[in-house]
Symmetry: C2
Subunit: 220 residues, 2 copies
Amino acid sequence: MAGSARTRSRGPYRTGVRRREQLIAVAIDVFGEHGFAGGSVRAIAERAGVSHAALIQHFGSKGGVLMAVLQEWDRQTVEARLADVSGLDYFRRLPAVMGAHEHNRGLLQLFTTIAAEASSPSHPAHAFIQQRYATNLATLAGHLQQAVDAGDVAPLTPAEIDIEVRLVTAVLDGIGLQWLLDSSTDMAGSVDVYITRTIMGWRRADAETTRVATTARNPV
Amino acid sequence: MAGSARTRSRGPYRTGVRRREQLIAVAIDVFGEHGFAGGSVRAIAERAGVSHAALIQHFGSKGGVLMAVLQEWDRQTVEARLADVSGLDYFRRLPAVMGAHEHNRGLLQLFTTIAAEASSPSHPAHAFIQQRYATNLATLAGHLQQAVDAGDVAPLTPAEIDIEVRLVTAVLDGIGLQWLLDSSTDMAGSVDVYITRTIMGWRRADAETTRVATTARNPV
DNA sequence: GTCTATAGACTGATAGAC
DNA sequence: GTCTATCAGTCTATAGAC
């Protein structure tokens, strides 16, 4: 609307975006450390060197801060994540992606804490996290299906693919949590072992193992 | 010390323990839904039909309630968990243990939420969760080592065993989270696929895969 | 043992000066 | 845009009556 031209020298609200980015960065740390419920607007504002009123002014509400944080997390992970690879190569990159988190504890801690918190339907980020997981699983499934179509791995039914991508996701999340609790955990190494072995299994008709296990377990 | 004999008809504080158990059960639900930071003493007391003062009186503080909850969770999982099996059979039971959680969402949600929250060193349950994971990993490692000694699986180095049990733990935690976010997730089935396939891998000298992957990855 | 009443601190959010 | 001042509500915890 009516923006004062004097406050911005070149781009639109030049200093505004920097301030906003800094506020979000601090909010990631605070929400990562104390979760959404435990992280207060005042704590974020104090650590950023502004008043809590200014923070609310920027984002409208505490929930607005959370949404900005989640979108920033989305942006960073999507842009870091492999637009240039597909099929099996997508999975082969996952250990490196995981290893990169070792130098950026805050973002991993944020996501782990919020994802667990948001498992409750009443949590403000519940829908966001649910959709995020659905999208992530679908992306992985697409790459695995592509590997099947290319003949890189033995055929898999959609149900088998679903289990495979859920296991991959579970390993990533679970190893991340273990590293947060014990920094001596070798995230990249552990994930690498899983991915390497799993791809080897996909190559042979190891799908038979899956099929036997799933059908034999069901007593109905 | 000086307990009124009139208030207990037979056992020691007969009604007291029932009340206490009920309060803990409610606290598990509330902390599971909102985490420790987000779950208030008042919410627990209100849902249990007592005043918040009475609840504090029972457990001394909010942190005391958390500790009682964690010990109860410990008790339930330890007693449910397989004192009668060891070696590979211990791993074979894990899918059934996971499947049992499908009928008891509260306890799984509690642990998932608290574990993630407690990844922050300042969290009151941080030490508890850390030790819990260390103990759990050590137990799994002991059973896997036992399987090695019994000749049920090919030899594994301690470092390889460490990765194996971390991956198993990661799958359990990660699949549990996915089920919390999407109840159509087949927890028992997914874990069963992983366990069955992994044990098959342990049988052959699949350890070579592990060794190749771990050494090839390190650029040092 | 459980209650009511209350202390004392912190919460998210708003109003208005500059 | 950021501040100070302030709101009404909630939090944990304590004191004291019954």
